[in-house]
Structure formats: C-alpha cells, structure tokens
Symmetry: C2
Subunit: 219 residues, 2 copies
DNA sequence: TGTACATCAGTGAACGCGCGTTCACTGATGTAC
DNA sequence: TGTACATCAGTGAACGCGCGTTCACTGATGTAC
C-alpha cells in the first residue's frame, strides 16, 4: 500500500499494508530502517493507527522478520523446483547413484538459493537474521514458504534426503544443519557487509560454489 | 575514563577516553549502542568536546570498530602463543609430520579464538563486523594485535604456514581464507544472535570444533 | 426489509526523549622573544 | 629567567529532528431485533 488516498474510512487490511511497508523499509535499509511512523506514513494512515494491529514497534519488526524469512523460504523452494524436471526425466525411482546425486543437488540448491537471496536482498536478509530481544518463537507458518517449511527446515529436509539416498552417513546427520548453515551464512555475511563486499556477482557465485563444495566434502 | 571529576581543565587524552567509553558501550550493546553523547558523558566532558577529536559520530564508531578488531587479533595471538611451548619441546625443526600437525593446530587455534571471542564478547564482535557506510580502509595498525597483523591477516598467515608445512596443497591456497572465515564467522553469528543462541558454552565449543574439522577436511 | 445500537478501526493532538550537531565563548598551555 | 601572546581543548547554551507512545475522540460497519 502506498500513500495514495483511501476512498473508504476503514483501510481494509492495514495490518498487511504495514507489514508490506515494513518489508520495503527493511529491503532498503535493514532492520533499523523498519520505523513504525514511516510504515504508517506509507500506508497512508496516522501513526498511532498501527497500535490497532501491533502492540509496539518491536511487534511490527517481528512480523517483518517473519515475512523476510518466508521470502527466503520461497526463494529456496523455487531453486529446488528447478531440480524436479531433471529428476522426473531421469526415470521414476532412479538408480541408487542417481538418487544420491539428486540428494546432493538438493543440498546445493538450498545453499545456492540462500547465497543468492543474501546478495539480491541484503536488507531483507539482514532483517531476517537480526539480533532479537524477543523469544525464539520456534517455527511458525508465517516464516515458511509454499511447502510450509521455513528455511531451516528446508535445509534439514535436504539433509534427510541425503541420508535416505545414502549420500550422507546417518552418524553424520545430527547437527549437520548447523555445519552447513554456518558456512553458507558466514559467506553471505562477508559478501553483503564484510571484506567480500566488492566482489562481482560472478566472483561471489564462484566462491559460493567453493563453500558449498567444502560443506559437501567436509560434512 | 569514568565520569570522576577531572582536576585539570584539559582532559589529558580525551580521544583515548572516548574510544574506551565507546568500547564499553559496544561491549554492552553492539554498534548501535555507541552513542556520542553517552561516550562524552562517561568521559566526564561536554558533548561537543568530542568534535575536537572526531569529525562525527560515525568517525568515533569507526575508531571503536578498529579497537574491537584489534581486541580480536590479540585474542587470536594469545591462543597461538599457547601453541609455542609444545612446538619448542618437540625439537627445533621437527619432522615433516610434526610441522604439518603444528600448522594445522595453528589454523584450529585461529578458529577457536575467533569463536571464543564471539561468544565471550558478542557486543564487540558485532561491532567489529557491523555493516559500514565508510570506505573499506584496507589494513591499518589500529585493527591489529601485538604482531601487527589484523584478524584476517592472522588467518592468512596460518594458511600460509600450512602450505609451507605441506598440510595444504598450494593449488588450494588462493581464496582459502574466505572458505575458512565463512564457516567460522557463520557459526559465530548463529551462536550469538541466531537459532543457536541457547547453547551452553560447552555445546557451542563442541559444534565449533566440528565446524573447524569440516573446514580442515573440506579445504 | 428497516432501524437502533454496539463495536472498534482510524483520527487529531500532544508528550517527553535523546540524539547529533552548530555557535560563540573561555581559559590553560606552551612558545617566542 | 620572565613576560606577552597565539593556540586550541573543552564550555555553555541552544537548535531541529524524528521517534515511540498515550489520550480522548469520531464515525463506518455489521448485527440484533
């Protein structure tokens, strides 16, 4: 919702509009840019109207964070979907080798989507993973993508598939998401804020693939 | 410098006092907590006095960031120093195998110190690696430890030692710091802000060692 | 189908806050003679 | 060694800003009769 004049007295879906405005702010400037007054301004509403829908600025920020995580989950799912056709054309069950290769490809797709999202939407990425005073809030549908899984769960599912396909020893499975996530998350941070900021998209992709290879190798 | 009354009209070393106050603020609350007015308050000085030493709040923050990086470098050097006695008692030049093991131990020490610092001083850690609008500023002595190397250079030196000791193929050396740094930096982030926040120090150490092992394995 | 009324989403005005920064100043220090 | 003076570190007062949040309100909507 932009600040174009409303025709009705009631807004319609102010909660949604505030989250959308918050997303736009986060996209442009990260979590600190999610300012309650500016969000209401963009929704074409008086500042305190936000309090009908959020208890505080912090509550709005949490909702925006969840939306950012959900956007990341959707990006991962899209990358995974690009694998489907190849899997289908390879024949239904596939050989053991084919299944293992596909499982590995799924893990790479998750990592690649994560890195691409961080680089394409650094503001949303930083918002999604900003330090929070709020409770951990476990898993919730508003963080998830179309599949109902949030980013962390999508990674876990990819690792489970690898175990099922014999591409990862079951003994190595526990905690493996933390190893994989660490590597990819760290690179994302270095690329968007850190010493790797000046890399071109191509260079960042190359090193991203190397990090993912390291994870596959070292897991 | 605390807010205890000065005896002299001149402060003595206000620049230093402001950086120290800024470090205390960063330690407690990360980069956003480095507030110019509060730093001057703690230095026992009127707010605008800061402008004799820093062009702006941003300039103060940069100085604090450099000090935080320097503290990290010192922590790494201390961890490396703990390796020296073992190296010496093993005999001067050592066998090829011994040198390779020591080189690997140096890399682990760098990673371990990094993770420990992040967990012990999350505010300083977040300040050291916060997004900055300022120029990259390459390398500068105020980011460095006793050895004159900053954290990134210490990591590079450890990797160089591994190559020299035959513990890392020269072909794998270029860009290796980014792979190693990514993994460890990502875990640090997950542990201080992210989903691994609730881990005990022991659990975090364990997973830290697994990440470091993954790096050694996958490099 | 028509009317009275309760609900509650959004209004309007205001608050106190702490921030970064600018201005013209004062007075301790150290140097030139 | 003694004095005049330039320097410049810190003072005092003030500014405008945008923020989050609270208050008492108004008026559109949808429901009960």
């Amino acid at each position: 919702m932009t600040a174009t004049a409303r025709s009705t007295y009631r807004h319609g879906d102010l909660r949604r509009a505030l989250i959308d405005a918050g997303m736009a702010l986060a996209r442009a400037g990260g979590p600190d840019a999610v300012v309650l007054r500016e969000a209401t301004r963009r929704a074409g509403v008086v500042p305190n109207a936000a309090y009908r829908h959020f208890a505080s600025r912090e509550a709005l920020l949490q909702a925006v964070r969840a939306a950012a995580l959900s956007a990341l989950a959707v990006a991962m799912e899209s990358e995974l979907d690009r694998l489907r056709p190849a899997a289908v054309s390879a024949g239904r069950p596939g050989t053991k080798r084919q299944r293992a290769d596909l499982a590995r490809a799924r893990l790479r797709a998750v990592g690649t989507a994560y890195l691409r999202f961080a680089q394409a939407e650094p503001g949303l990425f930083r918002t999604a993973f900003a330090a929070t005073d709020a409770a951990p809030a476990a898993s919730a549908p508003d963080k998830a993508g179309r599949s109902g899984l949030d980013p962390f769960q999508l990674l876990g599912a990819a690792l489970d598939t690898m175990v099922a396909a014999g591409a990862l020893a079951p003994a190595r499975r526990p905690g493996a998401e933390y190893l994989a996530w660490s590597a990819v998350h760290g690179l994302a941070m270095l690329v968007i804020d850190g010493p790797l900021r000046r890399l071109t998209r191509r260079q960042a992709n190359d090193i991203g693939q190397r990090v993912i290879a390291m994870v596959e190798q070292g897991l």
